[in-house]
């Protein structure tokens, strides 16, 4: 077993996903198979190989620190599930 159901539940919590019991069981089996497959990467000796995070040889994409208009409050709130005045409303954050 590459992954147990308990580990799946932990990962689901990290990912903020509330899975049903059925989903937990299915995902455990499927993730187990996939993780077993990706083990094949260990066939390769990658010591000394620099990881590639970015495909193109670029660094430090800067721009001048000049203020430009943003999308504005109304646009920002246009798809809000719940709003009050110029704010997004959410359930209580602090108990």
């Amino acid at each position: 077993m590459k992954i147990t159901q308990a580990e799946v539940e932990h990962v689901a919590h990290l990912a903020r996903l509330e899975l049903t019991d059925e989903e937990k069981e299915t995902f455990t089996g499927q993730m187990d198979a996939i993780l077993a497959y990706v083990e094949k990467l260990n066939e390769l000796d990658t010591s000394g190989i620099v990881p590639t995070a970015h495909a193109v040889p670029m660094e430090n994409a800067f721009r001048d620190d000049v203020e430009t208009p943003s999308i504005g409050v109304e646009n920002a709130l246009a798809n809000a599930p719940d709003r009050v005045d110029g704010f997004f409303r959410v359930p209580k954050v602090i108990e």
């Binding site: 497959y37 990467l41 190989i49 359930p91």
Partner: protein
């Protein structure tokens, strides 16, 4: 011939000569959409009123001679492109009613040239899939055989072209999602080099792999679309500041002196016999056009799928963290606290494939596993990139199959995600290497299903692969076959 059957170039000629109007061409596409959509389901949203208004505006421009190749042309966009004021769902329930307040740069560029948007196209949810079956809005069907998948994740784009519902489309490609559906639907799809086209306003799946590209009727149309959307964008810090060539000028009918590599790792014994036959015949065609072949090796090919499914899922788990029900998208009703709101909104809004990939990615990045999985996959990515760098010292382009088989049946691979992932073997390495690839029609299977071939180019070598694809296309009849729908 109906107006919806014309390519960009054919329609442009008629518009320029004032033989037809953009309104007529747009109406033709909208009628066609209405006629075939019950069978194809390529669209999530059709925008008839906006389209006709845009067509009228295009006609006014054309009347005063203010036009270029894309003015007045009916186009459709994968529903991953933000279109201001037009619902954009990414084929997910979590964005079912999301209306973007801004336009993707690539769409804005088409809009500014007077292209006419007829609608937003179906796809796998959040671009995660190879069959268009994970859409929350039902699968798209392959117009060549309605019991088959069109490919994915840009399944709607390819199906819309095959069914002649739009003159041209844009898709995105992270692991093959433009090239593979183009292959399955008998049209041309191009994934540009990473950084060639702005990703601003494109809903993110895997930020180091995603690229925007055209899915169109033929190579010349692809070249025109690429030229329209390519270029540096200050709003995308990963876009590259290199001049955009006139891709149309690269198209030539011969390949004298072009060195083509055949990677032995791609021509495996298990390759579908119809795919092998199409590729063998293509090699003969290329030889007749003057190309020289070299056998090459891309030794780390076999590790590409594993590397991809760690890198892409890791990046996706981070990118999809924004769907939390706070500022936009689905929010679960009646949540009593913040954590419950997050967890239930996401569980209700995301489909199973998306959840699976978020879970994999989260695991690969989590404490204790990061080095073994994510970092390891990135080191393997370097090895794969080096394979291509070495190969391109000897050859100008690399010829490969696009998919191991022609389009499979709807439902055939949904119970085994790993089987589905393994079918991306020929397209994934190009995304990992960050370079460009094009899929062009190369044959029909014994069951009459399209088979494409892939030409891979050097980074920013789109001109070479367009040239090779064009020469091949013009020397064969495959682009003249069409789905009987």
């Amino acid at each position: 011939m109906e107006l919806f059957e014309l390519t960009i170039h054919e329609l442009h000629d008629r518009l320029k000569r004032k033989e037809v109007s953009s309104v007529e061409a747009t109406r033709s596409c909208l009628d066609r959409i209405e006629a075939v959509e019950p069978q194809v389901n390529a669209f999530i949203t059709v925008t008839p009123e906006e389209a006709l208004a845009a067509a009228e505006a295009a006609d006014r421009r054309i009347a005063v001679g203010d036009m270029d190749i894309l003015t007045g042309i009916p186009v459709a966009l994968k529903d991953i492109f933000l279109t201001r004021g037009v619902r954009t769902t990414c084929a997910s329930r979590i964005l079912e009613n999301f209306v973007p307040p801004y336009d993707a740069t690539s769409w804005l560029k088409l809009k500014e040239r007077g292209a006419v948007l007829v609608g937003k196209l179906n796809q796998d949810e959040f671009a995660m899939g190879s069959s268009c079956e994970s859409s929350a809005f039902g699968p798209t069907r392959n117009p060549w055989a309605l019991d088959r998948i069109p490919g994915g994740s840009s399944g709607g784009s390819a199906a819309a072209i095959a069914a002649r519902e739009a003159t041209a489309t844009l898709g995105t490609d992270t692991g093959g999602s433009i090239r593979q559906p183009a292959s399955h639907c008998g049209c041309v799809g191009l994934k540009p080099t990473y950084g060639r086209v702005s990703r601003y306003g494109v809903i993110a799946y895997a930020s180091s792999l995603d690229q925007v590209g055209p899915v169109a009727r033929d190579v010349a149309d692809c070249a025109a679309m690429l030229g329209a959307v390519a270029g540096y964008d200050p709003k995308d810090s990963t876009s590259v500041d290199l001049p955009v060539p006139d891709y149309g000028k690269a198209l030539a009918k011969d390949l004298k002196g072009v060195k083509v590599g055949l990677p032995r790792e791609y021509f495996i014994p298990g390759l579908d016999p119809d795919v092998k036959k199409a590729l063998d015949e293509a090699v003969d065609t290329f030889r007749r056009l003057g190309a020289e072949f070299r056998e090459i090796s891309l030794p780390h090919t076999d590790y590409a799928v594993a590397s991809y499914y760690l890198i892409a899922t890791a990046e996706a788990s981070s990118n999809l963290a924004r769907y939390d029900g706070v500022r936009f998208g689905h929010r679960a009703a009646g949540a009593k606290g913040l954590q419950e709101m997050f967890a239930r909104s996401r569980d209700e809004g995301f489909g199973p494939e998306v959840k699976r990939r978020i879970m994999l990615g989260t695991y690969a990045l989590s404490s204790g596993y990061y080095d073994a999985y994510y970092l390891k996959a990135q080191r393997v990515r370097t090895l794969i990139m080096q394979d291509f760098i070495r190969a391109f010292a000897d050859v100008d382009t690399i010829l490969t199959p696009v998919a191991p088989t022609p389009a499979f049946r709807v439902g055939e691979k949904t119970s085994d995600p790993l089987q589905m992932y393994l079918s991306d073997i020929f397209t994934i390495p190009v995304n990992l290497a960050g370079t460009c690839g094009i899929s062009v029609p190369a044959g029909l299977s014994s069951e009459g299903l399209p088979i494409g071939l892939q030409l891979i180019g050097r980074p920013f070598g789109e001109e070479t692969i367009l040239r090779a694809a064009y020469a091949f296309e013009q020397a064969t009849e495959w682009h003249n076959h069409k789905a009987q729908i």
